[in-house]
């Protein structure tokens, strides 16, 4: 197998990993499938595009995730919290409507055309990986994803606030009775999830182009990743995201026209084998 293709797969898998961990986190805590997650990713890419053009990519890397975290706070306060006693499917469908609004709003602000963002000067060019030159920027994306996975794992498993998140994902009511401020925990988690979508959008901007349908295109893959990983399982989503990214990219060498069907095939195979997903319902 070609090393470049494998690295491409890992880089795409890294993006899927960041996006799906955010989606899985929000699902675990609010029980809501956030259909606007792809739109948040797209909004992150557009904000990054504008900020990078005005100032620098490094600044965009800070501004876009924070901007999206603020949108996440609005989502939590206006929709998820206020509607928490309503049916979760209805709330999910509201996010579906929000995704439509976001996509059109982006077209109204930035137009239909595709934009591109240059990677920062420090990360331009290629780096030698076992004798093969590979774009430095993509290696940096992989590094960010690995660092994030480790940080999230440490936060969820080794800190008190992480414990609260795990407890609230497992059983909101009991956690509340035990004295965990569930509202604060979910605000934190939804902001973090949306912020991660913004980060993924920023990281994606320099190597996939920025266009209005980019959120919808990736949303379905990310939803599949979350189901395959096990709904609500952050670890499962990360493993499945990386796995699907690699399989799809590498698969595109052998069967270029059928590789887009890989996620769907993976979904069917995993569900027939383990309906609860590879990592069950644990966080």
């Amino acid at each position: 197998m070609d090393l470049t293709q494998l690295l491409n797969g890992i880089a795409f898998g890294s993006l899927l990993m960041i996006l799906s961990s955010g989606l899985a986190m929000i699902f675990g805590l609010r029980g809501v499938t956030n259909f606007a997650h792809g739109a948040l990713y797209m909004a992150g890419a557009y904000i990054a595009f504008s900020v990078a053009k005005a100032t620098s990519f490094w600044f965009a890397l800070v501004v876009a995730p924070i901007g999206l975290a603020i949108i996440g706070a609005v989502l939590e306060l206006v929709f998820f919290r206020r509607l928490q006693h309503r049916n979760h499917i209805e709330v999910g469908l509201i996010t579906f409507g929000l995704a439509m609004i976001f996509e059109r709003a982006v077209v109204l602000i930035w137009g239909e055309e595709t934009h591109s963002v240059a990677p920062p000067a420090l990360l331009e060019g290629t780096t030698n990986v076992f004798g093969t030159g590979y774009p430095t920027y993509r290696l940096a994306v992989i590094a960010v994803a690995i660092a994030l996975a480790l940080a999230l794992g440490w936060w969820l498993n080794r800190t008190t606030s992480g414990l609260h998140v795990r407890a609230a994902s497992h059983d909101v009511e009991t956690s509340g009775i035990l004295g965990i401020n569930v509202d604060r925990v979910s605000l934190m988690v939804v902001c973090l999830g949306a912020g991660l979508a913004g980060l993924a959008g920023t990281l994606a901007a320099p190597y996939v182009s920025v266009y209005p349908a980019m959120g919808t295109t990736i949303l379905i893959v990310v939803l599949i990743v979350v189901v395959v990983g096990g709904q609500g399982s952050i670890g499962g989503a990360m493993i499945a995201g990386m796995g699907l990214g690699v399989v799809q990219t590498v698969g595109s060498i052998w069967a270029p026209s059928l590789s887009v069907l890989v996620p769907y095939a993976a979904l069917v195979v995993v569900l027939l084998w383990r309906p609860q997903g590879i990592a069950g319902k644990r966080v």
Binding site: N87, H88, I89, G92, I101, E103, L108, I220, S257, V268
Partner: protein, 347 residues
């Protein structure tokens, strides 16, 4: 039941007059589009009402049957009536295959699985490998052999909304009556039992997989009829029919009308088509569709019909007491008592 069937016949007859009353070709076209979307919305509403399952994958049956009509007439050179039957059979078969994979899931899991599998078919239709049949992104222009006709209508007549109207309208009413009869049969009662508490039904000795599958396939059958009629009328099929945007349109239409009542999705589809025609001129269709979806779900959870019903119940407290004794109040916020977070939507 006789009263219901009589009502069905009366609505059927009343609807057949429409082409004589509506003289504008434009409005006639919109009404026909509304009726075809209504068949799809009706099939989605059926699953939501009886099983609490929301599907975003019904485009697989609708679009699948539409493509099957195109392929059967253009590539296999079948006559239109045979192609129609074959297409509905293919759409129903797709529903059976998808159903085997998804009916065990509930709530969000079901929604995401149907979305993913429907999207898989969309992706497949756009592939170069499928181009000989589907024309990939270009779609497929349906070309008829000379002298081919469907129920006495040639290609030009099929594409004429006023002439095609009786076919589409009769199909819609037939589908609505079919679903109404299923809903009030003992099978329908069993479905409601499964919706309310699947575990209890299983412990009471009922098999819950097969009834769910049957309901899913029936719903797919109705969506296939809608798709096949669409293809005959449009004479052209494109991947857009299979995309989840189309599924979103049909679902939005059903929610706008109200999922709690049989007629809700039909009304919703017609409102939706007219609103779409109006909003489309500004190019911001999805902005308005999304806003409508958000506002209705937030403030009018039962859709148009559900809200009318709620107002009537508030104005007539006596009637409320009577009816709440005989059947659960399905139009109140969020539908029947929600026992778990995975519970589906019925309201």
């Amino acid at each position: 039941m006789a009263v219901g069937l009589g009502l069905g016949v009366a609505i059927l007859a009343a609807g057949l007059v429409v082409p004589y009353v509506v003289s504008s070709r434009y409005y006639m076209g919109l009404l026909l589009d509304g009726v075809i979307l209504a068949i799809l919305a009706l099939s989605i509403g059926f699953l939501a009402r009886h099983l609490g399952l929301i599907s975003l994958g019904h485009t697989a049956f609708f679009g699948g049957a539409a493509y099957a009509v195109g392929i059967a007439i253009t590539r296999w050179e079948m006559s239109p009536p045979v192609a129609f039957v074959v297409a509905v059979a293919i759409g129903t078969l797709i529903a059976l295959i998808m159903g085997l994979l998804v009916v065990r899931a509930t709530g969000m899991g079901f929604l995401m699985l149907t979305l993913a599998l429907g999207q898989a078919l969309y992706q497949f239709s756009t592939q170069r490998a499928a181009a000989p049949w589907t024309g990939a992104y270009d779609g497929l222009q349906i070309t008829y052999a000379s002298g081919a006709s469907f129920l006495g209508l040639d290609r030009a007549s099929l594409m004429n909304a006023a002439l095609f109207w009786p076919v589409a309208w009769s199909a819609l009413i037939a589908c609505a009556v079919l679903m109404w009869l299923i809903g009030r049969s003992s099978f329908g009662t069993m479905l409601e039992g499964i919706r309310e508490n699947e575990e209890r039904m299983r412990f009471s000795g009922f098999d819950t997989f097969v009834p769910r599958l049957i309901a899913f396939v029936v719903s797919g059958f109705v969506a296939s009829i809608g798709g096949a009629l669409f293809a005959l009328n449009a004479s052209y099929v494109s991947p857009e029919l299979l995309s989840f945007v189309k599924a979103g349109d049909a679902l939005t239409a059903a929610i706008v009308g109200g999922l709690g009542i049989l007629l809700g999705p039909i009304l919703g589809a017609i409102v939706y088509i007219f609103a779409q025609a109006r909003f489309n001129t500004s190019g911001n269709l999805h902005l308005y569709t999304g806003t409508a979806l958000v506002l209705i779900l937030m403030f009018l959870p039962g859709g148009i019909f559900g809200s009318i019903d709620k107002v009537i119940r508030k104005l007539l407290p006596r009637r409320r007491r009577e009816s709440s004794g005989s059947e659960p109040d399905r139009t109140a916020d969020g539908g029947p008592s929600e026992t778990s977070r995975e519970k589906g939507m019925t309201g």
